[in-house]
């Protein structure tokens, strides 16, 4: 059993590393005359060595580490489903590993949300103590942030980007595998936090609370620093892949919009993620080494952490939503069967958001008592970012206008992204303007706003993308009827839950509380019930996915008749993606343009991809190179 061997090896080496770390530190401490066991220091060392052991045991030693010692490397080969459980360097396998892992984390985080809403059905305490509630709330926060940061980027991005640009893999396949294999220990560590008392700081982990709180914080710190590392390495990989691995003829002006979005996202992840690492590192040093970064009595400053933290964590929301925009625009163009409206403006908007994302962080700190001269510039920068975001709407709305809308499940999700983000964007204006933000900051208005942007903008795009790529990934077609049921169920549940949630926020219900004022009982009960309704919709999704993966009908090569390269190869694609490397000729979205071709597969002959039915109006004669761009070709 390859899978069992791999997972057992990873776990075993991880545990050995964990105990070696603790034991080694204990020996050094004992020699230096201290107690051998210091909870936080021991856990930190154990964790670091445990993670190294885990990735080495999972296969990094054989595939990579040996090379550093001048030894011959070997890959772990595993057949069938077992390839998902080994240190596999194939980007398609890694993408699916990411997706499945994060769907599991998403469902766990959703379960936490259900528990929170159960507590908040009525004022007073229902199910949990304050400590339990804070712990559940913190776990929900950080797990969902992790899903939002990594599921779309790591899952769909890994799977689709090399296919979309006509490459055979990512630039650094082993690095890619490493970024995935660092994730399971992070998830396990976060799930262990309740054993040490639970994280009570929320996902933002503001000091001095995060310095003074219980030992679980240390697990949070080390886990999230590791998570940041994967984000940086993944971003690096995407940037190099997109710069160097494009197929011949795939110029920057012909790049699919999702690839552009991933390019901007990867730069953001690469540049800013260190901020989260630095802020958590300072917290960690304050806790473990007794330093005073945030202790005002000794010259530290708690606001320093907020600056460093938001320096990453605001750009992080663009790590979440930019790929969502990208994949939504991609699907909207294919399912409207129209060229992407104002493609150049969309690219400009993505790069504009990339440029502005680093200068808006302090709008999270308008009420924090930072110096007065900072409010104005950050207000201006924040309002400016609505201009490139508006261009994304122009592209989406311009593309569906006069289109031939084929309302498949992914298309419905893509339209929902635009709808939800319009609401999230408008409520964002209230939070960017200082006079309104003073009241709304840290209220349920903020909770509703960021669920509209992150969940409405990105998680909807994620689910749309999963349906969109399901035939390509599995070679089977999902059940369209169940998909539509899932969409409408989720869409209605989501909008009822979070639209009503604005109201308690305006009324003065603060975030992150286990108990609230009794005059908001009705609103909270409705929100809770709608939340349960929303939560139940994912059961349909899980059932549909599992059932269709096993029993679904075989999928065609190009069920959507899309023109981009990913659909011009088999479903699922062979290991090298394209048996014949493509040569790109035209724009990927030239629907309705007679004679246009996106790509040719030279010399493919009989193996050329199936063409759309010849009844397509405006169909051009088949290009001499054979096969090619799907939709418009034919």
């Amino acid at each position: 059993m390859y899978a069992l061997k791999s997972v057992a090896g990873a776990l075993g080496a991880g545990l050995i590393g964990f105990y070696l770390g603790i034991g080694g530190l204990g020996a050094v401490r004992a020699l230096a005359g201290y107690d051998a066991w210091d909870t936080e220091m021991s856990i930190t060392f154990g964790y670091v060595f445990g993670v190294i052991g885990w990735v080495m045991g999972a296969g990094m030693w054989g595939a990579w580490g040996r090379e550093w010692f001048g030894l011959r490397t070997y890959d772990r080969k595993a057949p069938g489903w077992q390839r998902y459980f080994v240190f596999n360097t194939d980007h398609k396998v890694i993408g699916i590993q990411y997706l499945v892992t994060f769907i599991v984390v998403f469902l766990l985080g959703g379960l936490m949300a259900m528990l929170m809403r159960a507590e908040l059905t009525h004022s007073g305490h229902q199910l949990f103590s304050n400590a339990q509630y804070n712990s559940i709330m913190g776990l929900h926060g950080i797990m969902m942030i992790a899903v939002a940061v990594a599921a779309l980027v790591g899952g769909i991005g890994n799977y689709a980007v090399p296919l979309l640009i006509g490459a055979e893999d990512m630039a650094f396949p082993r690095l890619n595998a490493l970024t995935y294999w660092l994730i399971p220990p992070v998830a396990l560590t976060l799930l262990c936090t309740p054993l040490l008392g639970g994280i009570e700081t929320g996902w933002t982990a503001y000091p001095p609370l995060s310095v003074l709180t219980n030992n679980a914080q240390i697990l949070f710190d080390v886990a999230i620093i590791t998570f940041g590392l994967t984000s940086i390495l993944g971003g690096l990989n995407f940037v190099v892949t997109i710069i160097f691995m494009r197929a011949p003829g795939m110029t920057w002006g012909k790049l699919p919009i999702f690839v552009w979005a991933m390019f901007a996202t990867a730069w953001i992840a690469l540049l800013y993620t260190q901020g989260f690492a630095v802020s958590l590192l300072m917290v960690l040093l304050d806790r473990v080494a007794g330093m005073s970064w945030f202790d005002a009595a000794n010259g530290g400053d708690p606001l320093l952490d907020q600056h460093v933290f938001w320096f990453y964590s605001h750009p992080a929301v663009y790590v979440m939503v930019l790929p969502g925009f990208g994949i939504a625009l991609e699907m909207i163009s294919h399912f409207s069967r129209k060229p992407l409206f104002a493609y150049r403006y969309a690219v400009g908007a993505l790069l504009g958001i990339l440029g502005l994302s680093g200068v808006v962080w302090a709008h999270h700190m308008f009420t924090s008592g930072m110096p007065n001269y900072l409010h104005g510039p950050f207000l201006v920068a924040t309002e400016l970012i609505s201009i490139p975001t508006g261009l994304i709407f122009l592209c989406a709305l311009g593309t569906i206008w006069m289109g031939r809308l084929w309302l498949t499940t992914p298309m419905l999700f893509a339209l929902a992204v635009i709808f939800n983000f319009a609401c999230g964007g408008v409520t964002g204006i209230f939070l960017a303007d200082v006079p309104t933000d003073i009241h709304l900051q840290d209220s349920y208005f903020v909770v509703a706003h960021f669920h509209y942007t992150i969940m409405g903008g990105e998680i909807f795009a994620l689910f749309g993308a999963i349906y969109y790529y399901f035939p390509k990934m599995t070679g089977r077609q999902y059940n369209e009827r169940l998909g539509k049921i899932h969409f409408w169920w989720m869409f209605i549940g989501f909008n009822v839950t979070f639209f009503i949630m604005h109201w308690p926020g305006i009324q003065g219900m603060n975030r992150r509380i286990a108990d609230f004022m009794s005059d908001l009982n009705t609103a909270n009960l409705i929100v809770s019930l709608a939340g349960f309704f929303l939560g139940a919709s994912f059961l349909v999704f899980v059932f549909n996915m599992v059932w269709s993966w096993i029993f679904g009908p075989a999928a065609e090569r190009n069920p959507w008749r899309a023109r981009t390269l990913d659909w011009q190869t088999d479903s699922p694609p062979p290991l090298e993606n394209f048996p014949v490397p493509p040569v790109v000729r035209g724009h990927p979205y030239d629907y309705g343009v007679p004679g246009s071709v996106h790509a040719l597969f030279p010399g493919r002959g009989a193996e050329e991809p199936p063409r759309p039915p010849s009844t397509f109006p405006g169909a051009a004669p088949a290009p001499a190179g054979g096969g090619g761009g799907g939709g418009g070709g034919g």
């Binding site: 260190q274 304050d286 007794g290």
Partner: protein
């Protein structure tokens, strides 16, 4: 066959410039790391404006010179292997490792003798910044040792020496970081 007509320019398999990709990847990694060090540097000036405690100036100047010198020897090692002079490269790597170890020991000595506490803000700044930097120095020494080990077993040549170049670049990067950290921690008042 007609299908072959437009196929003339397409290579059967696209060859990617792997060396360039590794180089750019490494630079992107430096880019990301410099944000880490830049944030620490910003945090240092955020908390303490310009002030600092008394530190041992001569020790600071000494370890700075040692690190800069190790950069020169690392450069010589890389240049030597580029011109197929393996023996010189090996010796230069050894000198670099020794100088790097000297720097690390200097920092350790500084930690042992510093009269300010890590529990004061400047102490936190000083120990964190030198500590993070020293961690990079130590990992750099580890990489240099691995590289030297392989060089000694006859692995690299003028055509194939990416691990040497990459490690030496990493070493230079650590040096660049110290170029900024040294004045920020020792020289400003």
């Amino acid at each position: 066959m007609a299908l072959a007509g437009t196929a003339a320019h397409a290579p059967e398999h696209v060859v990617h410039d792997k060396a360039k990709m590794k180089l750019v990847g490494l630079w992107l990694f430096f880019f990301s790391e410099s944000v880490l060090f830049g944030l620490l540097l910003s945090a240092r000036f955020y908390l303490e404006r310009i002030n600092r405690e008394e530190v041992d100036q001569l020790l600071g100047l000494g370890i700075t010179c040692v690190l800069l010198l190790s950069s020169v020897t690392a450069f010589t090692a890389e240049t030597a292997i580029e011109h197929d002079r393996r023996k010189l490269a090996g010796w230069m790597l050894v000198v670099t490792i020794l100088l790097g170890t000297g720097f690390a020991c200097g920092v350790g000595f500084e930690w042992g003798t510093a009269h300010f506490s890590k529990e004061q803000a400047f102490g936190s700044i000083f120990f964190t910044m030198t500590g993070i930097h020293a961690a990079h120095v130590i990992s750099g020494i580890g990489l240099l040792v691995l590289t030297w080990f392989q060089l000694a077993r006859g692995r690299f040549s003028g055509k194939d020496h990416w691990p040497v170049s990459g490690t030496v670049m990493y070493w230079h990067f650590v040096d660049v970081v110290w170029v900024f950290f040294y004045p920020a921690l020792y020289l400003v008042k």
